[in-house]
Symmetry: D2
Subunit: 299 residues, 4 copies
């Protein structure tokens, strides 16, 4: 018995250059296509009658980029609508896009910027489109991280790492809290205007970074909630925010054996393990999620 | 409004050594914990009363490993049951485990083996446990890959890559099909016997590799279905198999400009883009999935 | 017979926080130590009498960071001198440092930032110190890349990728040239003043980015030379620049099958293979390199 | 002033399939080319008259693979000789090759296999060829690792990690020592016979793994030396072995807070920092290294 299926071309990387009289502009996108539809025969008997090859999907992405990509959201919408509306066997399409940022150095030259990537995911079922935007790999750090007290203890509880064993007047002051942030928010609207998508994304991204740094938080969980709330406050068109914070552990080094104090100065940055906190924050009265989060209903 | 939330310690890496009189045995596990429960106050107000710190979770993983890890499935079961049964605020726990394989060189020495990793995911809600096993990053290749014909064409269709432009008597014979396979299957049973989990996993893994290579397939989709079917045939305790095949593209190089033919001999291995095919294969009459695939009901 | 040997603690990651009354400042360093000296007995017979454990080296890095790190160059100098001057068995030390940049978001908060990492390598032999600074993983792109003509052809020459098969009035105008740049330059001076190292590094980095974008180059090789020359011009204290440019291939997509032109608009970004160009540019009359590039003489 | 320069096509990935009547055989190679020669004009003025494009180099690699690749060493020799002998402007060529192993599953199917990669580097200057073979990313582990005592202490010495704080009857018995091994050995011979290269490589690889596990070593340094010695003993044609061992740190977890002992049973596997030990072992009377290690004389 066949359950949910989908297929498509993943990670089509393209650079779109717009050559003005003086300056050039560039957009660096990685586009992945997932399609769901009347594909059972292909899985069961190898009958490809209804299969649009992944190679054709790649060509389509490049051809559509000729007109310009607009914003990741509008490019995803155009592509999703094309696949579903042009092929009766394709019932739903989900376009996942990652935009890598570049910073201008000169009129025609650029340097790859970090600060995470911009993401978008668009699902279209022939009647309705759902648009999700986000950021990924956004690494944030605060040197006045959330204190963390009053938690449950059991027989496996040990004193927290060095940071908390060093007595300080103001314990919160010496916590470094760093996390790699993946955030996605679904919109209650859709528009063909790239500028509006850019604008909403910029507001959301700024809200995330500010909330991470500013909150006088007592836990990573509270920080996560404040970040989600900040996006909803900054972007009225956002209906729900889903966040995942992967802690980048920083532990105060114990310098006492060397006759040195360490008042929140020197930290060891470790890789693993790390705390991971996830959560969704919804706007009161948000419309149902529909296919915003998955190409398959009810998944 | 707060939606689904969970948190936990991720990627606790441990090595468990069992020192026999002659040989030593080792198990290399990476364990991630996710917990769901009465955590809203932590998100909303920073009240950590119900929060079991991620550091404690890490300690618990190490302490439980002292008794031995058994199989990834039994170790996940023990830990999931501990977290939910020992803390009233924890309603559900999901343990995700990755076992990296090592091959024995001598009595006490080993070489890291590739051939993918073994995975397990166990969810427990205080009353019931769901067990999923799998493999990830298993890279398989067949030099007699599925021919692929009879597909849809549209205005964005171009002849398929070089492989198909070179006329050959037996086109299927010169297709290389390689894919990185992620497969997970959920069991309809649970047991405290590690040997049984090992045995079922071994049968499933062998079925996947054999089906990938042996099928006279007409599409990656058909290969996927054959692999899922093979697991269900080989492991009666498996109720559903979910598969994702990420194509590793290999294109026959056009050597004609150099006066050479290329009858399925020299291939260029590319990185991106790549086709991705996903699908689920269920046993007729399989029990409902419950929390097998997610810590949150209905997700 | 034992040849060159060295050992040390690699990738000590530290975050140094300086807590001002308003703003905090952070430095994110990864420090690797390599030591050469009277270690033969350790290799030949396991006699560790002369071995300073790598764990001690790690402790030393953290302890020295307590006083502040200054610049990567001064921190490397302090550590290299400590190891050689405090242990008679250590003849030479080489400290390799990587600083990851962060951009300020608020008084105490930061986002992981753009544009490659800053590197330094300091070698000290008890009498003299050699200082090398650099950048790594700096990805630069120009949308008016070097035209590339007049090269050798042989029986394995094929027309260059699509970019050059599309006729355009101004061929240079539609070349995208992107490269990941690793550059290192050795200084003819040393100083204990971190500000001076910062200042020289900033000038060198800006010179690299500007030269990459501005040169009306005819080849990646010429671009490389222009970048090296630019560093020597901008930083009189630099005696030699070593550069490696790893091409990030961008090929103009052939859209003709879809009835579309592509005048330098849509590019496919590939991963591999890629051209790699390396070279050194020396100042006339530069002092000999000594141990600037290696802990071992004559290597 | 221009110093050493070289350029070439890097990471040409190819799969060579040999289709027998029953079984197929595959070879998975990644080939990088570096060329040195009369290229100054290209760097200084953009005159490409002497430049063989990297795209042509890629074509050459694929075309030469049509005849079969033999062993990495013979394939590198053929290519190096072609580049130098066919172009007067090319004085020296260095071919670096990485072979990834696959294990047969069926007559035409394979699984990506265990245990690091095989490497080769061939340099040719028109008169002489130097051949280096090796392994990379070979991760070895022994659960009876080298005890490590009698080392230097200073004010930055702290007791070694938990492993050594837990008193045991036989301290050596509870050390886990794991390392990622990069080894390269240069040969004093050359041959056009692939089988001989395969045979020598197999002996060297086995010697490395056995020596790592078997030595009753007192330090990682001694282990390194034993590994180098073992290669020289097993392969008379090897003149020098260069080794780098990057420690994969495993620390015994302190379970005492939970009322548990830990007699060499449960280890925490960390990522960074890690000890790195490097060294060369030469055969008495070995011929000079020439260009075995670098395309540039005296580097």
């Amino acid at each position: 018995m066949l359950g949910h299926t989908n297929y498509g071309e993943a990670e089509v990387r393209l650079l779109r250059v717009t050559r003005g009289s003086d300056d050039h502009d560039i957009v660096d996108l990685t586009v992945s296509v997932a399609l769901a539809g009347a594909f059972d025969a292909s899985y069961l008997t190898g009958d490809n009658t209804n299969i649009l090859p992944t190679d054709t999907q790649k060509n389509t992405v490049y051809a559509f980029a000729r007109e310009g990509t607009g914003s990741p959201e509008t490019f995803g919408l155009r592509l999703a609508q094309h696949f579903v509306d042009s092929q009766p066997s394709i019932y739903r399409a989900r376009l996942s896009l990652v935009e890598r940022p570049w910073t201008r150095v000169g009129g025609h030259s650029f340097v790859r910027a970090e600060g995470g990537v911009r993401t978008a995911a668009v699902t279209y079922d022939g009647a309705h489109a759902w648009v999700v935007a986000g950021v990924a790999d956004l690494v944030l750090l605060t040197s006045s991280g959330p204190e963390f007290t009053g938690y449950v203890t059991d027989r496996y509880t040990t004193p927290l790492p060095t940071a908390d064993r060093v007595p300080t007047a103001d314990r919160a002051a010496d916590r470094v809290f760093a996390a790699s942030v993946d955030a996605q928010w679904r919109y209650s609207i859709s528009t063909a205007d790239p500028a509006r998508w850019h604008h909403m994304h910029e507001r959301a991204r700024r809200a995330l970074a500010t909330a991470f740094g500013d909150t006088s938080s007592h836990s990573p969980q509270q920080t996560l909630h404040a970040m989600g709330q900040a996006v909803l406050d900054a972007v009225p068109e956002a209906a729900e925010v889903r966040l995942s914070l992967s802690h980048k552990p920083h532990a105060l080094v114990d310098l006492a054996p060397f006759g040195l104090d360490n008042p929140g100065a020197v930290y060891h940055a470790a890789d693993r393990p790390y705390g991971q906190v996830e959560g969704a924050v919804l706007r009161e009265g948000a419309p149902p999620a529909g296919l915003a989060w998955s190409i398959h209903p009810g998944v």
